[in-house]
């Protein structure tokens, strides 16, 4: 049993060595910041509180570009532009998805308040964008009608 434990240990050590040698491409600290509570929340308000501290106040300085009608819910293009000074992060939700938070973006040095992605939408819902800037939370939303749901469920 000791030999097996020893072998398992050395295998694990060498595997870790390979990973370290490959140069952990995304730092461990970044992985640690993946917000499990926010991404697992089934209710959009819970998700918004977990990721940004609240639902924020509506702002006309956040523009959401998304189709009025998405023919394929598996691929819905969404572009969020925030002209709020000091935008620190943008989080994007699809209100009626099983887990509404689709993604969250932290702006690094010099980054603009802009992100364009493609999300899955299970059914017609509001796409909500939350922006954190200067210690406050702002939001905007746009309804996207979905004809064929994209979560395959």
């Amino acid at each position: 049993m000791q030999r097996r434990t020893f072998l398992k240990g050395s295998l694990a050590a060498s595997a870790a060595g390979v990973a370290a040698g490959a140069g952990l491409l995304v730092p461990g600290s970044v992985l640690a910041e993946w917000n499990t509570a926010a991404f697992g929340a089934k209710d959009i308000n819970e998700a918004m509180t977990a990721i940004a501290g609240g639902a924020g106040e509506a702002s006309g300085d956040i523009k959401i570009k998304a189709p009025d009608i998405a023919e394929n819910g598996a691929v819905v293009p969404v572009t969020v532009t925030s002209s709020i000074a000091g935008t620190e992060s943008i989080s994007i939700f699809a209100a009626n998805n099983a887990t509404p938070l689709t993604s969250s973006y932290t702006m690094g040095e010099g980054a603009e308040g802009y992100v364009s992605i493609r999300i899955k939408m299970g059914k017609t819902a509001d796409v909500v964008a939350l922006v954190k800037a200067g210690g406050k939370v702002y939001s905007a939303k746009k309804e996207v009608k979905v004809t064929i749901g994209g979560c395959g469920g």
Partner: protein, 103 residues
């Protein structure tokens, strides 16, 4: 073969990065039609954009991002000829990265 197609274009000091990544982005909710078993969650959970050694953008993704994900972001602080790097890691421990010069 890299899983990442990357472009970075400078216009008036703002660099627009566009990336297309090959990845199944499985939510873990889909069922295999033949067996009826759930296909395990397999999705990119973090993406990092770097330029000139600085992290410019960090993205946290879920299975709610479409398969073969597209991502575009903008930043100031790099000029034509500088290198932009994009790295991703998924929930199974796989990762990849790609680099491109700003045009």
């Amino acid at each position: 073969m890299s899983t990442i197609k990357l472009r970075a274009k400078d216009k008036d000091g703002v660099v627009t990065v566009k990336a297309l990544v090959s990845h199944p982005m499985e939510t873990g909710l889909r069922k295999d039609k033949k067996t009826g078993n759930k296909i395990p969650a397999h999705f990119i959970n973090t993406v990092t954009g770097e330029a000139n050694g600085k992290t410019v953008m960090t993205a946290y993704w879920s299975g709610g991002i479409s398969k073969n994900p597209y991502l575009s972001f903008k930043f100031k602080g790099a000029k034509v000829g500088d290198t932009v790097k994009l790295s991703w890691a998924d929930n199974t421990g796989k990762s990849d990265s790609g680099e491109v010069k700003v045009k």
